[in-house]
Amino acid sequence: MTRSAKPALIVGACLLAFLLMDHPVLAEAAGTAGQTSSQYPWWLWPVLLLVVTFVMGVAAVLGGVGGGVLFVPIISGFFPFHLDFVRGAGLLVALAGALAAGPGLLKMNLASLRLAMPVALIASTFSIVGAMIGLALPTKYVQIALGVTILGICALMLTAKKSELPDVPRADRLSSVLGIYGVYQEATTGQIIDWKIHRTWQGLLLFVAIGIMAGMFGLGAGWANVPVLNLLMGAPLKISVATSKFLLSITDTSAAWIYMNNGCVIPLIVVPSLVGIMLGSFVGVRLLKVAKPTLVRWVVIGMLAFAGLKALQKGIFG
């Protein structure tokens, strides 16, 4: 893709989001929340959620992001639900996706339980802290912070590099003590890859921040897990992606319980979202063969950028 085409695509995606915003139901609902949403029949909302989250599920797979990171900014920006319920639903959506993928990834030995456990201890503890902070802060501040975070994720997606097999000359002392290493076979080449990690304590420290953000905003944190596991700690890309996906099933569990126990779960919002994202993901996996993932990725970045700006606008101007 040419350099000039990328911004054009982002602008195109933003226009698409504006068109979505122009839909009379969503536009009114996003503007005047409660008064408007109760004017429409109750069944319209779960149906709309199902359709939007289905598209989101397809886009998430093709764009290489988790469903949760799209769900919270887009649904909170364009639907009449309070951010508390969107975050609760977002965590459950990300959790369901991680639970569905986890067993297969563990059995294939792509997700490493040994790598995930020390990381999960830190991330899940701090996602509880994040959830408590998120629920205690006034909504407008959370909305502003969410907008800034989403725009930061866009920047990360635009700039972060990936390394299939990072060079780790020798394992550091902490990872040796913890016995974090493994072997896997690269399916495409048949190559046997011995992997180990380094900079373990620095990585673990970053999971403090990742846990807090995941809990505070109800976002799945794959966007942050993968760069830390892969680029900083030196785990191979496939191990990082798989372990990150599995890790979400633990991190999101702890935060999801905090939201559940505070009453932030409305089944009429959660269940259609969960079904829509999962069905969309199934279709997305099949479309991967024919779609152009790079193009979709730019559309996803554009949608996220718009949703991030929308969150900022809601936080600042109400």
Binding site: S38, L113, I128, T253, S254, N262
Partner: protein
């Protein structure tokens, strides 16, 4: 070659964890879908009528609970006779299966003399258990 094949396989505790996670996840998802159908079809009367839900979801959670006269935490257990609250059974199972997975691998790790990871697994189960217990309150908006 046997040694190589062995090293490519997932460790026993990982397989056990995956098996429990798989069964719990499938059971939880089926339960979520079945209870949602019960809710939408009105087989069980909901606590908040379906047509009234859109009038509540724009409120902050504190106002919502107050408006609907509901309690947070595990109070839903006492209300599973209602169509909306029955949905929480499947959702709680999805959110709780990970605790079971960690508790299940503790003895396996202990038998392998991997006491550090057995402790990690136990600690993780405790952390998730504390989050699930509802003893950690959060401030209102």
């Amino acid at each position: 070659m046997d040694e190589l094949e062995k090293s490519l396989q997932a460790r026993p505790e990982q397989i056990l964890y995956a098996n429990i996670l798989e069964k719990g996840m499938l059971f939880g998802l089926i339960l979520v879908l079945v209870t949602y159908v019960i809710y939408l079809t009105g087989l069980l009367k909901p606590y908040i009528p379906l047509q009234e839900v859109p009038g509540c979801w724009h409120m902050s959670v504190d106002k919502y609970l107050d408006h609907c006269q509901m309690h947070a935490g595990w109070a839903w257990l006492g209300m599973v006779g209602y169509g909306d609250f029955i949905n929480f059974i499947g959702i709680a199972l999805l959110a709780g299966v990970t605790v079971i997975c960690f508790l299940a691998i503790v003895p396996v790790l202990w038998r392998q003399n991997d006491k550090l990871y057995a402790l990690f697994a136990l600690l993780e189960a405790v952390i998730l258990g504390v989050a699930a217990s509802g003893i950690l309150g959060a401030g209102g908006h």
